[in-house]
């Protein structure tokens, strides 16, 4: 690295004698030819990205093998945030696992809570009430919006656009306020319980949500104006990190990553849960599978989530939020204090926990980042034998070395951003 020069493409101060733009040397000036490494281009260089780097979105470490500026190989290192949630779950009652799910994909905690409750309910064969289903749909779609907003803002920053980050985080803040009013927490919501919800929405909450759904699309329109036909954005994203339809399936991608590659699979449409078949919404599908298509898919998904939220608010009717099943739901406090049988149920619930029958169940839901699956194996006791999380961004990230082959170093940032990773879920 003897002589670094910068090409003045826009403001060329002049031309030298052979007619080339003047180059201004940076750093210690050495006379040209004083030191020149002949096989400089043939040498492979190792660049370390992360684990503490804003563009790796958490504690992800990438060791990049470069030939010049071209990526030959990417070796990801994960596990810096490994907390052993799956092991911990084997020592917890089913309802006690819900706080752990907050902390896996911490950008969409409510959707994780819903998925966990659904998986245990599948294990026990429980059908939740109509109002509970609608509230859970609202929770899932709000999560999708805030998760995609984080993705949008941070990806914009990674590629040099600061303003949409402010817009998206402003909208996200409004959702967080709604989340806080409903659950009492902004991040660790623990919203659901097996057989129902932790709490019903407070008075006036649905009006606040309606106001959000009315005004939110205009922010998306602004982002659309800013990005979709922006020459810089297109130049940084189109044709970058493309995976074909066959590759996307072979690499087990899910969610927006899979759909951007042209595979029309959305768990909400193809394996409907929570009554998603009754909602009118479209599933955007890309065709090129590059970073740009992933952006388009996620942007459109936010519009569609907004549509689902509006329909869910129309469907919301008064009614119970918990099933009437003493195996899983605590009796009302008044009855527990006055009725012997209700008190026994209360005691067994608190001391022993929910006891699903022996068996096993896998349930996949469409989380913002892809298909989140919870796989439970029960032996009839109150604690699961095995709690497996199928982490969508873990499996999506595994395709990163493939996507980065032959790309430029700066493309690695764009590709990594397009995966939409969250390390809490990858490392678990």
């Amino acid at each position: 690295m003897s002589l670094r020069t910068v090409e003045l493409a826009l403001a060329t101060p002049g031309l030298d004698e052979p007619g080339k733009p003047t180059r201004i040397p940076l750093g210690v000036a050495e006379p040209p030819g004083a030191h020149f490494d002949e096989d400089f281009g043939a040498e492979h260089m190792l660049v370390n990205l992360g684990p503490q780097h804003p563009a790796t979105h958490g504690v992800l470490r990438l060791v990049v093998e470069l030939e010049g500026e071209t990526v030959k190989r990417v070796i990801p290192h994960i596990g810096y945030l490994h907390s052993g949630f799956e092991k911990l779950g084997e020592y917890r009652h089913y309802n006690q696992i819900i706080p752990l799910t907050d902390r896996t994909d911490y950008l969409s905690p409510m959707a994780n809570n819903v998925a966990l409750a659904l998986a245990v309910e599948k294990l026990m064969g429980i059908e939740v009430t109509e109002r509970c289903r609608v509230l859970r749909v609202i929770a899932c779609e709000l999560s999708r919006i805030i998760s995609h907003l984080v993705w949008l803002g941070t990806t914009g920053i990674d590629l040099g656009a600061f303003t949409p980050f402010l817009w998206s985080f402003q909208e996200r803040e409004r959702v967080y306020n709604l989340q806080e009013a409903w659950t009492g927490a902004r991040l660790t919501t623990s919203l659901t319980r097996v057989g129902g919800m932790m709490a019903d929405i407070p008075d006036g909450w649905d009006q606040a949500l309606r106001e959000f759904t009315r005004t939110f699309p205009s922010t998306l329109d602004e982002v659309d104006t800013m990005f979709t036909r922006n020459a810089i954005w297109i130049g940084r994203t189109q044709g970058v990190g493309a995976l074909s339809r066959e590759e996307a399936i072979n690499y087990s991608l899910s969610g927006p990553m899979l759909r951007a590659s042209g595979v029309d699979y959305d768990v909400r449409k193809d394996r409907p849960y929570l009554g998603y078949e009754d909602y009118d919404f479209d599933v955007p599908v890309g065709e090129h599978g590059d970073v740009y298509d992933r952006y388009r898919v996620r942007l459109e998904e936010m519009y569609q989530s907004n549509r689902i939220l509006e329909q869910a608010l129309d469907k919301l009717r008064p009614g119970p939020i918990n099933v009437d099943d003493p195996r899983v739901v605590l009796p009302p406090k008044g009855r527990a204090m006055s009725d012997m049988e209700a008190m026994i149920y209360h005691f067994k619930q608190v001391m022993e926990g929910v006891k699903p029958p022996a068996g096993e169940a896998y349930l996949g839901v469409e989380n913002p980042k892809g298909e989140l699956g919870y796989y439970f194996v029960s032996d009839g006791t109150a604690k699961p034998v095995r709690w497996r999380i199928r982490p969508p961004s873990f499996i999506n990230l595994a395709s990163l070395p493939k996507m980065c082959e032959g790309a430029l170093l700066s493309d690695v940032i764009a590709i990594n951003a397009s995966v939409d990773i969250v390390m809490g879920e990858i490392d678990r």
């Binding site: 093998e65 092991k87 020592y91």
Partner: protein
């Protein structure tokens, strides 16, 4: 609960693989097929490539260790046919007294790469033929065993003081693995004593 119908793929597997299909059962509406370890790779390839089955999507690979120590470990494959919107769960039971090894499915699904590495990391089940079977979530010189086994205590095998001692004794110079250093041809340029420490494997992994 178990009134749900058995997936027709189970009968088709029986017809093609006979005794290699050890057991078929339904739990919570999901069909589970136990395949013998020897024929598991063939059965999974057959499920992927046979028209009418088309299980072209590998949803997940995991393993289960039961609380009963006599019960075999199970490797679990969640398969999906994207075209038919159908799911199937295939399991391999592994006797703990035998070597814990199954054939990799990396040649069928590239998505199996990290999933198999994680199962190896957490359960110690080896996947024969996997191109890069290293620990994934734990560091490569992690010596306490396999965390998701039932004989692994929640806080680990080592005492907290021993864990702290090892963490502090880790060699921060060994930030790259030897494989990575060889890419940049940087290993030869390291000081002699540092080369020796790396080769002793204080942090890096020696093949």
């Amino acid at each position: 609960m178990s009134t749900a119908p058995v997936s027709p793929s189970a009968a088709a597997l029986r017809a093609s693989f006979g005794d290699a299909i050890e057991r078929v059962l339904v739990s919570c509406g999901d069909t589970i097929v136990y395949v013998s370890r020897a024929r598991a790779h063939d059965a999974l390839a057959w499920l992927r490539d046979t028209p009418g089955q088309d299980f072209n999507y590998l949803t997940d690979i995991t393993a289960v260790d039961y609380r009963d120590p006599e019960r075999p470990l199970e490797v679990v494959y969640q398969l999906r046919s994207l075209a038919r919107r159908a799911d199937l769960r295939v399991k391999i039971a592994l006797d703990k007294r035998q070597p814990l090894e199954v054939a990799t499915v990396y040649d069928l699904w590239k998505g199996a790469d990290w999933l198999e590495r994680e199962v190896y990391d957490m359960f110690g089940i080896r996947f024969a033929g996997h191109p890069d079977l290293r620990r994934l979530l734990m560091w490569e010189t992690y010596a306490e065993g396999y965390p998701l086994r039932k004989d692994f205590p929640l806080r680990g095998h080592f005492s907290r003081s021993e864990q702290t001692r090892q963490a502090l004794a880790a060699n921060p110079e060994a930030h790259y693995s030897l494989e990575e250093l060889s890419i940049a041809e940087a290993f030869a340029e390291l000081p002699k004593d540092m080369q020796e420490r790396l080769a002793r494997g204080e942090r890096g992994f020696i093949r």
